[in-house]
Symmetry: C2
Subunit: 230 residues, 2 copies
DNA sequence: AAGTGGTCTAGACCACCTT
DNA sequence: AGGTGGTCTAGACCACTTA
């Protein structure tokens, strides 16, 4: 009997999680080719488990594969970004109405707790934690009615936009707006005011999209003017 | 130079499309195990391309895989079905408001055209066509603002519920309700009445869910009483 | 302890691009 | 034609189950 380090995980799962993480944290960027031969060297396993990992990531939308041409990290332009935020609005505006209709004091307490941790993350200047807590907050809204499938879709939209958020950062005013907006949303939920919560969410998400799209356009302009190398 | 039958498609893509189709049309059912060795025999190719096809289908939600235990067709219980219909409501209630705000006569004309073909499909008793046209109608609402990602999500919820619809069929009254509901929705859109369109969509989808869930419960009861073999 | 069936590797194969 | 790199096969390997 030999030691077990394995815990029921297979190579393709491990590699999938590593590649996903490398994409989300910006190690592989937007449009980068993911060549099997490179990845074979990088991870020390053979081609097939890597291909399987890429197939799954394609299913999650992070990676694009085409026949006989291999894989690359999905390129995210402004139109695609806009689509992600529209999907978030659709899901959250709908689910927050349901939540507001039947939120308990405990639900509200949990949301306030996340809010507090967000304020700490901003004080500590941790964009990565802020992003995680933002998904936790919005996930509480969408998953509150035990709709795990909807929560998974929301989470995938975060995976797709997080690389850009990490890359472009956030101004202090933009960061401070997050807990302010969230506090107002929590109040509306606590008062069982679905329509107001829904409207506040919509405005909050519009603002988040505008901030990010502006930052993107700024970089694009810089590249065009040759100020930063592409 | 030899002849080309290939057209740039690879084995894993072909097999993926075949398996997807076999699931959607009910050849493989709800919960069936998909054993690689069976599929190797069935399709005459080796294990790896089949595994890749299954990985992709897992990404689409049709198949569930677990480490060292292989794949099976996702089992769809009432809770999961309910989640799919909630997601549809969230997407369509949101996007129909946008569409109603700026629908042209041409948009409305195209929707009426689909409506006409639905009536023909019902007259012809073709559940499969009816289902396709239903997705086409709802896809026009969600995709109208060029949100291909949202349209893709909607389409996946159809892939997941269609097998049950084909299995349980639909009473004549249930079938007739579809074009009636759709006509009312088109009218609200034509009059640029977003809130009404949104409410009508919500009711329409609630009705569709209730019909299907009832049929499912009926079969479950029959199995429990031993009237039909499981 | 054997059986079943999923997973991984090495290397052949083949599609597509460049010259 | 040659090069690059994605795809496929055969068979070994290994996790998990049943006896």
């Amino acid at each position: 009997m030999t030691e077990r380090f394995n815990l029921g995980r297979t190579n393709y799962q491990r590699v999938r999680d590593i590649i996903r993480n490398d994409i989300i944290t910006g190690q592989f960027r937007d449009g980068d080719r993911l060549k099997i031969s490179d990845l074979v060297g990088r991870y020390g396993i053979s081609a097939m488990p890597i291909r399987e990992a890429l197939q799954q990531l394609q299913g999650e939308g992070l990676v694009v594969m085409s026949a006989n041409r291999g894989a690359s990290v999905r390129r995210i332009d402004e139109h695609f970004l806009w689509q992600m935020y529209e999907i978030r609005k659709a899901l959250e505006m709908f689910f927050v109405v349901e939540l507001a209709g039947r939120a308990t004091a405990q639900d509200v307490g949990r949301m306030r707790d996340v809010l507090g941790r967000q304020e700490q993350a901003i004080a500590a200047g941790s964009e990565e934690n802020l992003q995680k807590l933002d998904l936790e907050f919005h996930g509480m809204i969408v998953g509150a009615t035990k709709n795990e499938a909807a929560a998974a879709i929301l989470s995938r939209t975060y995976d797709l936009t997080q690389p850009l958020r990490l890359r472009f950062g956030r101004s202090p005013e933009q960061a401070r707006r997050i807990p302010t907006d969230h506090r107002a949303i929590i109040e509306a939920i606590a008062q069982h005011d679905g329509p107001r919560a829904s409207r506040l969410i919509s405005e909050h998400i519009n603002g988040a999209f505008a901030d990010l799209a502006d930052a993107m356009r700024l970089e694009d302009d810089s590249i065009r003017k040759g100020l930063v190398k592409g």
